[in-house]
Symmetry: C2
Subunit: 453 residues, 2 copies
């Protein structure tokens, strides 16, 4: 029999998170306040516990994972590494294709890896309530689960277009005891401002972040929790790439290329950063972030200081951005509808150390269906972006005869995205045109800060 | 750290299926034809391939699993055995609770264990097309997946109430390339007959079976595939219990009680039969089938010969039955809405070798939500029946102080059943009264056959 899954034991769950900052050639640019001056850790204390702020600014290579968080990880970790024998056969490629499957978590994606960590640190700090945003609902459901596990109440501002497209993600959050509101909502000043200007706004991650941050900042018992973008979030996700490296070691193989979908960057950072450590040490490995061509942050955005949210409540981050008030088209990969990107991912991309690629929506669903028919698992629309890139490259290998090793993070299953698959089969799914005018306009609203050196 | 999951390697996937017939004290009663005479294997040849008919009547203890089927199993097997530490803690019970999780299959339940076997044997016999029925959609989606894997077209007759309640199970079947029709349909004589009498019929597994069998019997290129009830189906599911026994052996524990939901019996047989082998050899272990109190086949049905389908197309099986034209209430555990039960399960129950218990719908959802909040995984409504029984017994252990070992098969996740959870949270879920009059009436329609000795 051919081996399909490479498994690890629970005692092989990483004991530390890997901090890519330690291996970056240049230190990360600091977040800036409205005055253009670097923001100190204190400014974040209204919405984050001290331990997470320390992680946010740390340059230590290894940060220990608390025992209770590792224990929570045992509910689904280590996740399996699959060799995609059947997909390789269907494609007729000499490439060896592997995927790490994060859909085994109860919430069905990689997001609980940071959700349980964030919930635990907040609970340790005496916090009883968390607010957050969610796009496709993967993050919101993950934080609902984590809140339930550590006894915290959770309120989720869910991007309205997803709230309507994915009612059962809401049900999932309810099952784990969380409260869910469509965003923009009338519960916050930020939401009311957007609704006044755009009553039919489909919402965006940026708007939902504004609402959740505003509420957390205004209540002592409540903190805010973010599902991507920030350094500490990407840090927690590095369990994925660390496990994958152990799994490759077990079978004596190693990827030539690592792929992940990239919205805020936690999926990509989680799987790719531990491989970046090898790259920094001289090993040859390519790291490819795959994004939607209708929200092409890395491939078409500007590298500059911008807000992380839609209305300018967060500190300014040096990142690739399409402009904080850019409203991405209502694509079904809700987790990739974000105007900006992680500062760490952005800096690595800016310095030419990682690659980025944009793919259109229809082609991603075509790849997802091909994958599902070969491998069984029905992927989340976000994951389909990585699958598209891998299939394209596997077919290129077929042309050249190169037996490359292609590895991607299958970040989640599509069980709550079947309405999108229905639309695809019905021929009703659109390829949005590249929204050049909207991006131009949003970029014109960038905050006035001196460009980085 | 406490160990949560007990894992096996792929080379520990069982090499043989276990046939409980070899260990039953009495041989199974034969199926009968309309004339009251035993039906030979030949009568089944119009709709089943020879290899499956041989398995259906075999008394061999061990039947080898073909290599290609074991290879297909590697996509999700071996499935993990979980120790439910967090649930034990919430309940405050001294009981040790374990569950085998079959929701890791691409279709999200135990059903692919037999689907891939049936698809493979049919393909080997030159068949290009399969028809089947499905209740909740777990079986239909599993056969869709299996058909895709081995190059067979699949048509699924889906019980109408589930077709409407669970649109995304349909989408899943479409993703894997199958065709799905609501049953009763106008495509078969059986369907048209039911529609003429009951135009608003919500359908039932019995009706859908009639439709699928009729179509398969009328076409040379098409066979029929059943998701439960028959001996060969239960046989294929015994990989579950066999793996569980190995997993218990690894940790030096063993169940006092094994629980599974019971509709047609494949879930229960799959997990319990390998433990029955131990029981037959003198080991003490209780085996409990849990069914809905609104469709109480084992606990309130009659042990007699009856049809497997609604209108009398199948041979007569000696089983517990509520009457082949009994229409179960539209509960959300669609997989348990069946008037009869596996002949093997029925005989073991009749002989006092296994137990049965009936539980009402609301209490099963209460148990499922308690489980989800403790363990993370959101269970299928069918699985909630076993969870209800386990929680009840774990709470009894709390009273008595007994550290019993309670083990159940978590047969699937509830990702396609969130509408049912929504209704539960909204207080809209009903506990149907025990449908005594309907059962009385259906039992009055039993075929006239001499009662068994």
């Amino acid at each position: 029999m051919q081996q399909t899954k490479i498994l690890l034991d629970e005692n092989e769950i990483p004991t530390h998170w890997y901090n890519v900052v330690a291996d970056m050639p240049n230190p990360p640019a600091p977040p800036l306040g409205p005055d253009g001056q670097p923001v100190g850790p204190d400014a974040l204390a209204a919405i984050f516990p001290e331990a997470l702020i320390e992680q946010e600014v740390s340059a230590e290579r290894w940060i220990p994972i608390p025992d209770e968080v590792r224990q929570a990880y045992t509910l689904w970790r280590p996740s399996p590494l699959f060799r995609a024998h059947r997909l390789e056969q269907v494609l007729g490629t000499p490439a060896r294709i592997y995927y790490k499957y994060e859909g085994v978590s109860p919430a069905g994606s990689h997001k609980p890896n940071t959700a349980v960590a964030q919930a635990w640190y907040n609970r340790q700090a005496g916090i009883r309530r968390l607010t957050t945003e969610t796009g496709a609902g993967q993050w919101g459901s993950s934080l609902a689960l984590a809140g339930q596990m550590f006894g915290l109440d959770v309120r989720v501002y869910m991007v309205k277009v997803s709230y309507e497209q994915k009612p059962f993600r809401r049900s999932m959050m309810h099952t784990w005891g969380a409260e869910v509101l469509p965003s923009p909502s009338d519960q916050t000043e930020a939401g009311r401002k957007i609704l006044a200007e755009h009553p039919d706004s489909p919402g965006s991650l940026g708007i939902a972040i504004s609402e959740a941050v505003e509420e957390a900042a205004s209540r002592d018992d409540t903190n805010y929790s973010l599902g991507s973008v920030l350094n500490h979030v990407l840090l927690h996700q590095t369990v994925i790439g660390q496990e994958a490296k152990k799994q490759f070691e077990k079978i004596g193989d190693y990827p030539d290329v690592v792929y992940a979908p990239c919205g805020g960057g936690s999926n990509f950072g989680g799987v790719a950063f531990p491989f970046f450590a090898d790259k920094a040490a001289g090993r040859e490995v390519r790291l490819v972030a795959v994004e939607p061509s209708s929200c092409p942050t890395l491939t078409k955005g500007r590298y500059t200081y911008d807000y992380g949210d839609a209305i300018g409540m967060t500190p300014l981050l040096l990142m690739y951005t399409l402009g904080h008030d850019f409203m991405p088209p209502g694509i079904h990969a809700g987790g990739l509808r974000y105007h900006g990107d992680s500062a760490l991912v952005s800096q690595l991309y800016h310095e030419g150390l990682i690659e980025a690629r944009a793919v259109p929506q229809l082609a991603t669903f075509e790849a997802g269906v091909q994958f599902a028919r070969a491998e069984g698992i029905i992927p989340a629309p976000e994951s389909n972006h990585a699958i598209r890139a891998v299939i394209d490259d596997a077919l290129a290998c077929k042309e050249t005869g190169e037996p490359k090793v292609l590895f991607f993070n299958l970040s989640g299953h599509g069980h709550f995205d079947m309405a999108a698959y229905d639309k695809y089969f019905a021929g009703e799914l659109e390829d949005y045109e590249y929204p050049e005018a909207a991006i131009e306009e949003a970029l014109a609203h960038l905050p006035k800060v001196a460009a980085p050196a």
